[in-house]
């Protein structure tokens, strides 16, 4: 049973435009939501997070939005840069303290 879903396996965006990556989850009890970024042959690296008491968190070009009623979160990257090309994983922190990941979305930013 997939608790965290990223329904788009890939996304292609022009440099300078906005990238929007989406994630859905099933359990309304999750408290923290995170985005990780992964380059080939490297481990995932933490990018940005949001707690369930907020609906938006911004860090430079990256903004995460949380819609608790829809059990949906999204990551916005503005403006997108070629160096942003990577696989992005959405993750939730469950009550047991472990991270549960989605399947990932591969972002390609074209110059």
């Amino acid at each position: 049973d997939q608790q965290v879903k990223q329904n788009s396996p890939s996304l292609s965006v022009q440099e300078g435009r906005i990238s929007i990556l989406n994630c859905d989850y099933t359990n309304s009890m999750f408290d923290y939501f995170l985005w990780y970024k992964k380059y080939p042959a490297e481990g995932p690296t933490f990018l940005i997070s949001i707690s369930s008491i907020k609906d938006k968190n911004e860090d430079g070009r990256f903004t995460v939005f949380l819609n608790k009623s829809a059990k949906h979160l999204s990551l916005h990257i503005v403006p997108s840069q070629p160096g942003d090309s990577a696989v992005y994983f959405c993750a939730v922190l469950n009550q047991g303290g472990k991270l549960i990941f989605g399947q990932g979305t591969e972002l390609s930013v074209k110059p």
Binding site: L34, P44, F89, L93, K98, F101, Q103
Partner: protein
């Protein structure tokens, strides 16, 4: 080094062979996690240690998988009698606190069972 270190980076094993994968977490990190990542999928939780105590091993796929962290630092994931379905990238992560929030990941060990 300052990050999570995993070795070997690549391992090819013949079916039926035993393998041991090592993880050196960031010094002082309390929590250590093992994940399995199949091709095109997200990391799947295997097991979790808080210091030397294995608090959750619910993700281990079978009794062929065994993990330990005897001194609360370095951890080893052992897979006995490897099968082709064990082929994956095995990721280790550590965090300073008692949860996986903001955990730092190693580069992973790519295991190929032939």
């Amino acid at each position: 080094g300052a990050g999570v270190s995993q070795s070997p980076r690549y391992k090819v094993a013949k079916r039926g062979q035993d393998v041991a994968l090592r993880c050196d977490p960031i010094s002082g990190h309390v929590s250590l996690f093992w994940y399995q990542q199949a091709l095109g999928q997200g990391p799947e939780f295997l097991t979790y240690f808080q210091n030397e105590a294995q608090l959750d091993k619910s993700g281990l796929p079978s009794d062929r998988f065994f993990a330990e962290r005897p001194e609360g630092s370095v951890s080893t994931l052992k897979i006995q009698r490897t099968q082709q379905e064990d082929s994956a990238v095995y990721l280790c992560a550590s965090s300073l606190g008692t949860t996986g929030y903001g955990a730092f990941f190693g580069q992973g060990t790519r295991l190929t069972v032939v």
